[in-house]
């Protein structure tokens, strides 16, 4: 390359993916450039035309279209196009037109192929299959977090310490002290091989044995936790973390088929996470009043930012934040019961929406409800439950979980009802679907029992799973509602591009990204009778039923992960800068990497919405 061309090289070097290119390679590119001028309004590439160039926009603006004539994207200075055709028999797939006077640097196919083969970063960027590019973006990020790449077995430092489940309290305590462990596994030794039957922890000994002053001869089976929650040896550390967070447990036996390989404790995982959300959760249970809870709620955002900076994935962050929110709720219920006395009839406190889906972030209001036992008699019992609901709701608001503007809270009489009424609600929603009403009740289809008789919530989940999958009209209506919010087309300069070519300065990454995705995933999940609530888990369930082809599920997963992470990072940056986090993103705040992958992700959402429309729409015609 002639040294005089340095300014042209510098222009390329300011734009991805040339910014990371080796100097010799970039020199080769510059020397190969052919410059062409296109006047505004003239075609640059026409469909089916032979093309052997990659087009780099030096100045001006270009529109790219689909074969149908639909706008595909708008490109400005420093962006390139034409690679689709180069990968496809050198024939133009996406026509291009100059919409402003353009100076284009053309790079010959031979150099494009050379870069494709010798520069991985370039190949990722130029990948014609945006979706595989999205895949590699997501996995590259996930690979950088040790919690997501290491198996739980790495945390096992000793053989499991166990005793027969027939031992007495005192003996169990002695073994734990001698061995220096905080949890003891209790085995059923009746069969040929010992089987895990229960677990007892330090905490159990303190809270059950000591406070209740149980005799030392009490059989351990009376106070142990039966059929403890376990994790598999193949699990990643973050999966174990999710299990602990979700269930608020501090010890997790690691199973290899039926055999216990070891036990991992909260402290083993917390080592990997400097400002552990797990510690924050256990701290919540040590608070004695709302004042204390309010004080530690200030740590929630720090914990969130830390997780983001440690490259946790969105599932992990969403679960950690939901786990924290759930813990605040649970502790408030405990404190409420201490204040108001035991409940007059059994009840279940239910989380709805993002908390139920384990997809909570830091900008969130409270969505909750109460399922009461069917023996509930309003004049006699409702004063108690209203007082309890109010106590919890006020406490949550004090801790940063603002009141729900749509009044979806247990303080609302309508959402504080016995199980049979709840069942009738769901039956009505599913059997007599009305689009408008469903928009408002959408949130109830993400539900999770978090306190008390959680089996009430399970009954509702079962009812929904069985009934929804058989009601085509309901699914069609839900699908139609899921199409109300669409993703943008992409970005152009500092604007968000809409499908009709309109440009906006800002867009809401929740309303235009994660929400449409979780909406459409919910429809498919309900259609296949899944009881899962988390979108990633729902996708797993969908994949098993083959309702959507495998790569379709993978694409949705990657899109959800990528959009969520951009949204999460946007909020973390705001917190770090001392601003109030929100969901409104300005395109200039996005890196070139984020811009191009977001466009890919939006494309996945858009295609998935088209599929949804096709998949459930036809059935409206047949049945309704």
């Amino acid at each position: 390359m002639q040294a005089e061309l340095i300014d042209i090289r510098n222009h390329l070097a300011q734009h991805a993916p040339f910014d990371e290119m080796a100097e010799e390679m970039l020199d080769k590119v510059v020397s190969s450039i052919e410059i062409s001028y296109f006047r505004a309004g003239t075609p640059i590439l026409e469909f089916g035309q032979r093309n052997t160039w990659l087009f780099y926009v030096r100045s001006g603006a270009v529109e790219i279209y689909r074969r149908s004539g639909e706008l595909y994207s708008r490109m400005g200075e420093g962006e390139f196009f034409g690679q689709f055709g180069l990968m496809m028999h050198k024939t133009v797939r996406f026509p291009a037109k100059a919409i402003e006077d353009c100076l284009i640097y053309r790079i010959p196919d031979t150099v494009f192929q050379y870069l494709w083969e010798n520069d991985e970063n370039f190949a990722d960027f130029a990948d014609t299959e945006g979706r595989s590019r999205l895949r590699s973006a997501v996995s590259r990020r996930e690979k950088s977090n040790v919690l997501m790449t290491s198996k739980v077995t790495r945390l096992i430092s000793r053989k499991p310490v166990s005793a027969p489940c027939t031992v007495r309290l005192q003996e169990a305590a002695r073994i734990m002290t001698d061995q220096g462990v905080s949890a003891l596994l209790l085995m059923d030794e009746e069969g040929d091989r010992p089987k895990l039957k229960g677990i007892i922890t330090d905490r159990d000994l303190r809270t059950r044995a000591v406070t209740e002053a149980l005799p030392s001869e009490t059989p351990i089976s009376e106070i142990m936790s039966d059929d403890p929650i376990t994790t598999r040896a193949r699990s990643f550390i973050f999966e174990a973390m999710l299990t602990m967070l979700h269930n608020n447990i501090h010890h997790l036996p690691v199973m290899d088929n039926d055999e216990v390989r070891g036990v991992i404790a909260l402290s083993d995982i917390a080592k990997y996470e400097s400002q552990s959300s797990l510690y924050l959760v256990s701290n919540i249970y040590h608070q004695q009043d709302i004042k204390g809870l309010k004080k530690i709620s200030r740590d929630v955002r720090d914990s969130f930012v830390r997780l983001v900076n440690e490259d946790a994935n969105s599932h992990m962050i969403g679960s950690a934040m939901a786990g924290i929110g759930r813990s605040f709720t649970q502790r408030l219920l405990e404190l409420g019961e201490e204040k108001l006395g035991p409940p007059p009839v059994p009840y279940c406190f239910m989380a709805l929406g993002s908390m139920a889906r384990d997809e909570q972030l830091v900008v969130t209001d409270q969505d909750n409800a109460m399922i009461l036992d069917d023996s509930f008699n309003p004049p006699e019992h409702d004063a108690y439950f209203l007082a309890l609901a109010k106590f919890v709701s006020d406490g949550l608001d004090a801790c940063g979980y603002t009141y729900c503007t749509g009044d979806i809270m247990a303080t609302n009489e309508k959402w504080r009802q016995p199980l049979k009424v709840w069942k009738s609600y769901f039956i009505d929603w599913i059997d007599n679907p009305k689009a408008e009403a469903l928009l408002n009740s959408n949130i109830f289809f993400d539900l999770d029992g978090i306190y008390g008789r959680t089996e009430f919530a399970e009954e509702l989940k079962i009812l929904v799973a069985e009934r929804a999958s058989n009601s085509q009209r309901f699914l069609a209506m839900l699908a139609r509602n899921a199409l109300n919010r669409t993703p943008p087309l992409g970005f152009f300069r500092t604007f968000v591009m809409e499908e009709d070519g309109k440009q906006n300065n800002t867009f809401n990454l929740k309303r235009r990204g994660t929400a449409p995705l979780s909406d459409l995933i919910r429809v498919h999940a309900l259609a296949c009778g899944s009881r899962a609530q988390n979108s990633f888990n729902r996708l797993k369930a969908i994949a098993e039923t083959k309702l959507i082809p495998d790569d379709g599920v993978g694409n949705l997963r990657d899109a959800l992960e990528f959009i969520s992470i951009v949204r999460i990072r946007h909020q973390a940056l705001a917190i770090e800068a001392g601003r109030e986090p929100d969901n409104n993103v300005r395109p200039e705040e996005l890196s070139p990497f984020e811009r191009s992958h977001l466009k890919d992700a939006f494309q996945v959402v858009s295609n998935a919405q088209k599929f949804l429309k096709f998949r459930y729409h036809s059935q409206v015609g047949r049945h309704g």
């Binding site: 061309l5 300014d7 410059i35 001028y37």
Partner: protein
């Protein structure tokens, strides 16, 4: 500055015949080869015309008093400018280098001391220009300076047609100086300098005063002018001077 008188004021069709004559008369073999390559036919449409953008950086504006410091050129067509074929030479001026021109071109005494004389690179320059129409921005520099420099060294000058992108702009803006009345209303004169002309066509800003970059900038400007004001079928004789 007033346009200097063109060395040839013959009919615009005369260039090919003129080249045959020049080839016969040329004594220096390099010049002979250059003319023998011929001149593009006058009726050639712009779309098919082989072009070469040419830019000289000089120590001043008067060919009889000032010298060439550097030469940049790039062969091109209206369709494409091939950067890889761009060339750039620093040449040793016959006359002393003024401090002011150092600050303009960034070419220093040290560069100059190591640089060859124009006669040493003449063959390469003429080879690159042969068979192509030269495109310059302001025709009173490259052709007259080249002519004087060769007369000085070879005792014979050089002549060739040029397309002048500045003359095209001048033609487009005949009334570029506002009247007194317009001046009162705040109207500014239209500049036909290279950078200002480029801006009118949406062409990017390039750092000025490097002969190769200026040659590329001139080539891009002609592409833009053709796309806006002429057609690809316009004959070259309508533009060359």
């Amino acid at each position: 500055m007033a346009d200097q008188k063109d060395p040839v004021s013959k009919s615009n069709d005369a260039w090919p015949d003129r080249f045959i004559q020049l080839a016969e008369n040329a004594r220096d073999p390099r010049l002979k080869v250059f003319y023998q390559a011929g001149c593009v036919a006058p009726e050639t449409p712009l779309a098919d015309a082989p072009l070469v953008a040419l830019d000289f950086e000089t120590t001043g504006l008067n060919p009889d008093q000032h010298s060439i410091v550097s030469i940049g050129l790039v062969p091109f067509s209206i369709d494409g400018i091939q950067l890889g074929r761009g060339r750039h030479w620093v040449v040793r001026p016959q006359l002393p280098l003024h401090q002011t021109s150092i600050t303009i071109h960034g070419i220093t005494h040290t560069d100059i001391d190591k640089a060859p004389d124009l006669s040493e690179v003449l063959e390469e320059i003429l080879e690159a220009m042969a068979g192509r129409i030269a495109v310059v921005h302001y025709r009173s520099i490259e052709r007259p300076f080249f002519d004087v420099a060769l007369k000085w060294r070879l005792n014979e000058g050089i002549n060739f047609p040029v397309i002048d992108t500045m003359a095209i702009e001048a033609h487009l803006y005949p009334n570029r100086q506002p009247t007194r009345w317009q001046k009162l209303k705040g109207m500014k004169p239209v500049s036909i300098r290279l950078a200002d002309s480029r801006t009118r066509y949406g062409l990017p800003h390039y750092p000025p005063h490097n002969a190769l970059i200026d040659a590329i900038a001139t080539a891009e400007l002609l592409q833009a002018q053709v796309r806006h004001h002429f057609s690809l079928d316009t004959a070259v004789k309508d533009l060359w001077l």
